[in-house]
């Protein structure tokens, strides 16, 4: 009996000796402490530091030096919020935001530094008054039997039956202009669901990675991303996908998926990017920070964080703008009619 109790005590003691409290090093709730905490979260968890260094020479250590002094001199929390927001803007990433009672810090240059290439007033001239709306998809038939659909957001899921119904109503058209300009994103799953109605087979369209450690280059092996055929109607006629700099996040992802399909031509301006899937964390003072954590690469394993170039670059000309014409939609119409003519010729030959 004594031996048994002795062994139990030894086992318990050995257990206690090998265990301890799991804690995390924390920063002070002071202006400098909060700035250091924010800097540290980005340093350890943000996924594009190495890429940003390669693209435009960002040195994250220098950023700390630059803003630390400013934080120490901050006279109010509102001022500190602006300083920390400015520090995050050094990353040039629209997915990085600081939020608090003072609002949310944004980086908008990815969009605002470029031509807008979209006008909802001009779009009205094309949609007319007979357009339909089905679960966030605005669609109509333009002249010469060209279908036009506008998807302004991926914030909500589409129903397969909604997509199918829209496609069936446009089925007699020669091709589809799918306009996602100014679509700032939403859910990746919504983007994937819509894209899945444009393929009949499983298509390899990119890769996804995540960070495995705190180092700037600690990444998992890129895992392939596939686009699976969706349930319901599939559109296999020519598609022209219209993009501009306002196409961001999951809309950027949608562009990457659609580019992998043979019947799709991307037209317009380069997308805004935002290929990192964001995670969130918080600071000692309770402010929240959102940051890109998982990079998504295209099928050539290239980053799409700073946007995807179109197959055919087209901008709205000032003459067309004044006339209420959308140069990009007109070019897309021509492209589809050209493709339809070529297909007809091919059919006659065969």
């Amino acid at each position: 009996m004594k031996n048994l109790l002795y062994n139990i005590i030894i086992t318990a003691a050995a257990f206690v000796l090998t265990t301890g409290c799991v804690e995390e090093e924390s920063f002070d709730n002071s202006p400098q402490g909060n700035l250091e905490a924010l800097w540290s979260i980005i340093d350890e968890r943000y996924c594009f530091l190495a890429y940003a260094e390669e693209q435009y020479g960002l040195c994250w250590d220098d950023v700390l030096t630059k803003y630390h002094k400013q934080a120490a001199d901050a006279e109010s929390n509102a001022e500190l919020f602006d300083i920390m927001g400015n520090m995050l803007r050094e990353l040039r990433d629209g997915h990085v935001n600081l939020s608090s009672e003072y609002g949310m810090s944004y980086y908008w240059d990815w969009k605002l530094d470029y031509p807008i290439n979209f006008s909802d007033s001009i779009q009205r001239n094309y949609l007319g008054k007979d357009f339909r709306i089905n679960n966030g998809i605005y669609y109509t038939m333009l002249q010469d039997s060209v279908a036009y659909a506008y998807v302004g957001s991926f914030a909500n899921a589409f129903g397969n039956s909604n997509i199918t119904a829209a496609m069936m109503q446009l089925a007699h058209c020669k091709g589809l202009i799918l306009d996602i300009r100014n679509n700032g994103g939403g859910m990746l799953s919504a983007a994937e669901q819509l894209a899945s109605h444009f393929t009949t087979e499983k298509i390899h369209c990119g890769y996804i990675q995540h960070k495995t450690g705190k180092g700037h280059n600690d990444f998992s092996k890129p895992e392939p991303l596939y686009l699976e055929p969706g349930k319901g109607a599939r559109w296999l006629k020519p598609v022209v996908l219209l993009t501009n700099r306002g196409v961001f996040s999951s809309a950027n992802h949608f562009t990457m998926l659609m580019r992998a399909l043979p019947q799709v031509t991307v037209m317009g301006d380069k997308t805004g990017g935002g290929s990192g899937m964001p995670l969130s964390s918080n600071l000692p003072n309770g402010w929240n920070v959102r940051f890109s954590a998982c990079p998504i690469l295209d099928k050539e394993k290239r980053h799409t964080e700073f946007g995807i170039e179109p197959d055919t670059a087209v901008h709205i000309s000032s003459e067309d703008w004044d006339k209420g014409r959308d140069t990009i939609i007109d070019a897309a119409c021509k492209h589809i009619l050209q493709q339809a003519q070529e297909q007809e010729k091919n059919n006659q030959h065969t």
């Binding site: 009996m1 031996n3 048994l4 109790l5 062994n7 139990i8 030894i10 086992t11 318990a12 050995a14 257990f15 090998t18 265990t19 301890g20 409290c21 799991v22 804690e23 995390e24 924390s26 905490a37 979260i41 968890r45 996924c47 009672e101 990746l188 799953s189 996804i208 995540h210 960070k211 495995t212 450690g213 705190k214 600690d218 998992s220 895992e223 991303l225 899937m277 964001p278 995670l279 969130s280 964390s281 918080n282 000692p284 003072n285 309770g286 929240n288 959102r290 954590a293 998982c294």
Partner: protein, 287 residues
Amino acid sequence: MMRNKDTYTILTLLLLLPMLLPSAAVAQHCAHEAINPYRVVQRSTLHGVSLLNTLDTYLSGYDHKGAGYHIQHETLRRAHTGSYNWIFQTRTSATLGIATQHNNSQILLMASRCWSGYHPFAIGRHLKILAGAQIKAEGGALYTPAYSNNPVSAKISATVGASVAAIYTFSIGEKEYKARYTMDLPLTGAMFAPEYGQSYYEIFGLGHTKGIIHISSPLNAPSMVHTFSIDIPTKKSTLRIAYTADIFQSDINHLRTHIYNHSFSVGYVRTIYKVKRNDPIEAYSPL
């Protein structure tokens, strides 16, 4: 592929586990208590308040503190194999609470079920020591409503460990009270943990599940549960007041978690005597 850390974990366990093996051998020699062929089942359901301290670096690097509701159901029964007495325990517990750090809140839901088998040793008239093993399944999540992306951190584990208890019976006046202390120590098992920066979309949306299950040990998941309870006889039943310190911890893939759950609960104990068809009914004893 097994990692170096896992290998180290297994080696540690191999060093720790033999300490229990001599105990089992001695237990066989010491088991000279009279065979009790009667099955006594004791059930208790306790309700209480939990004081919470949560840290999950996947969501936040700072402690969140709060409170919640705790429920615990326990069944104890005696059994015998040959000339040895055993006590089997099943315990199910759940906590729902909210913890905050400044304006941020985390909602916690954790539930566990464990199955323990003990061999009892009487030390004198009043003290009984129980030593045994335990299998535990635990699951739950921390949810941060303020986060638009990836607001959840799931906690799932299955462990095997040691459990010891001491039961002290004492009288005040004509009433007999029972104080019990139990310590559960998970020694090894399997635990879910995403990679450092892996999103749940990648795991559950894309099915990239490779490397999300880890071997747990006191080195990477030093968890334990301490329970102290007192049974107070009342006119028609027995009242149980309990304090439980449930310490759930893990440090896997540079992601650190602790959920310290101190619960104070109260409830009634029901004792059921399951008499087999051929058993005489005059001799039975509660645990």
